[in-house]
Amino acid sequence: MELFPIFLSIRVATLSTMLAGVLGVGLAWVLTRTRFPGRTLLESIVVLPLVLPPTVVGFYLLLFLGRSGPLGAWLEAAGLEIVFTWRAAVIAATVASLPLVVKAVQAAFETVDPKIEAAARTLRPAASVFLTVTLPLAWRGILAGLVLAFARGMGEFGITLMLAGSIPGRTQTLPLAIYDAVQANDLAQANALALTTIGIVTVLLFVLSRLPRVRL
């Protein structure tokens, strides 16, 4: 069995979960705790990858991040190649999982009593309150969001194919490798990779279920 797609997918899903986690928690906080014009628009944009076909999202990301795209040209000048590298796979997985994290964390933040935060704010600065009260109280919801993000990152197919391609040994993640194996009629390889995917996700879910519960 080829091992590269397994390691690549774990790496991509881990990095994209971290990225989507940080971005998603920040966005969720902005969306639940602040009021500003354009808030609904921002929320819609964040959720867009959830409803659009992955190829459409991938297509515009390609235009945006490609060598002649506005951000792509700038990044290339800075010496950072994105498109058709493993970094593109991370970005694809991040974009795909961000709405899941934002939605889950938003729901988690909404369960935190604003009065508890208000009482905390009279005792400590806002940043400390966020770290010591809001995050711990919303922890379970955030964790659920991160699990979804990791699973989504492991399974990302469409956006990745558009943005990172399916270059064996370079950008071919697990789902792409499975597809490739099926296309090449190598069912044994496809089966081995598919079972590995199931194994990884099962272990992850098991570990999560063993984590201590937050006392409420």
């Binding site: 009279t122 400590r124 010591t132 109280l137 006392r215 409420l216």
Partner: protein, 362 residues
């Protein structure tokens, strides 16, 4: 000393309270929707007013013109909510220690232990808030605010979530705790009895404005306007005409009845509203009726037994009947002695100094 006057707009509601209080307990008393809690949120710095200022013991916490808006944790202000708002994921001791970030570990522990003792929760330091009773939780919430040695303590309906017995016990305990607290306390309440019991000063708030502030007796006995009078449960409000404005002989004519008063009056002929608290209306024995001023003869029209006392309604005889019914609070003992019942003829008297003239509505 706390001194503030500010404006905060929330959609169609304009909050514009102004108040000056000293180092004791002031009750911010008013109906729901009056702007009480919003006032606290502005004072503590969680909402930023658009105009005005908030000063505490010479420090400026907020000043719109100078652009000063101190963040909540730098205001030295404790905040206690009705629903306790304890940190459910932290122990009682950690809840208390939350505001003591800048102290050394030893000092922190010492102060937490001292506070636990003061709250009579010595044995509960390692418990979680979910394991405590409502009254115990509210004590922790109070201790969490007091432990930072604030200059201002804000209590937002702190007893409302408790049952009657626990509420009464906690009121006494809180009063004891506040005796050792040298700062200013603002107690938000919609319960007049609680305001009177807990506070030296009462500020009546409604529609986003403080209608009147003063000592509790001043506000209860001398409401400035009809609106304040209604808020502080003065149920007897009547309309009369000034008969004599001379000091010493001041009197109001009320549907043919001449009522002597001690308060200053506008010129004779002026129409005035005057009031008397139902507990200040005296029932007079018939044989003593001629000895007293301001005696009315009439009969009782209704009575409600309220456990500790009776609420009676009285209508005068003759032309004065047109003035309307008068509400009287009467002790069970007196009710028994006088053998009172609806329909019985009785004499009532208004003490001169209890009759109070309201300012005309502006």
């Amino acid at each position: 000393m706390l001194d503030f006057a500010f404006e905060y707009r929330l959609e169609d509601f304009l909050l514009a309270p102004a108040l000056t209080t000293g180092r004791d307990v002031t009750a911010l008393y008013g109906p729901s929707g009056a702007g009480k809690s919003l006032t606290l949120l502005c004072l503590v710095g969680l909402r930023r007013p658009s105009r005005g200022y908030i000063r505490l013991n010479g420090r400026t916490l907020f000043d719109a013109t100078a652009g000063i808006h101190l963040p909540p944790h730098l205001r030295r202000t404790g905040l206690v909510f009705q629903e306790y708002a304890l940190f459910p994921h932290l122990t009682v001791a950690s809840n208390l220690a939350y505001g003591l970030r800048n102290s050394s570990r030893a000092e922190m522990q010492e102060r937490v232990q001292a506070m636990l003792r003061l709250l009579r929760l010595d044995a509960f330091g390692d418990r979680y808030p979910g394991e405590l009773s409502g009254g115990q939780r509210q004590r922790v919430a109070l201790g969490r605010g007091l432990i930072i040695q604030p200059e201002l303590l804000l209590l937002d309906e702190p007893f409302s979530a408790l049952d009657q017995m626990e509420r009464e016990r906690l009121r006494v305990e809180v009063l004891e705790l506040l005796q050792g607290f040298g700062g200013t306390t603002i107690l938000v309440t919609h319960n007049l009895q609680e305001a009177y019991l807990m506070a030296r000063q009462i500020a009546v708030i409604d529609g986003g404005r403080i209608l009147q502030a003063g000592t509790r007796d001043e506000v209860l006995q001398h409401p400035r306007t009809r609106r304040v009078a209604e808020h502080v449960a003065v149920t007897n409000i009547f309309q009369g005409t000034v008969a004599d404005a001379d000091a010493g002989a001041a009197a109001i004519s009320w549907h043919g009845q001449r009522l002597m008063v001690t308060c200053p009056l506008p010129p004779p002929g002026t129409s005035v509203e005057f009031c008397i608290r139902p507990e200040d209306v005296r029932l007079v024995w018939p044989e003593k009726a001629t000895e007293r001023p301001n005696v009315l003869r009439g009969h009782l029209t209704a009575e409600v037994e309220r456990g500790v006392d009776f609420l009676l309604r009285f209508r005068a005889e003759g032309p004065t009947a047109a003035g309307g019914e008068i509400e009287i609070h009467c002790s069970e003992h007196l009710h028994y002695l006088m053998k009172l019942h609806p329909g019985k003829q009785v004499f009532i008297a208004f003490a001169l100094d209890k009759l109070h003239v309201l300012a005309p509505p502006s």
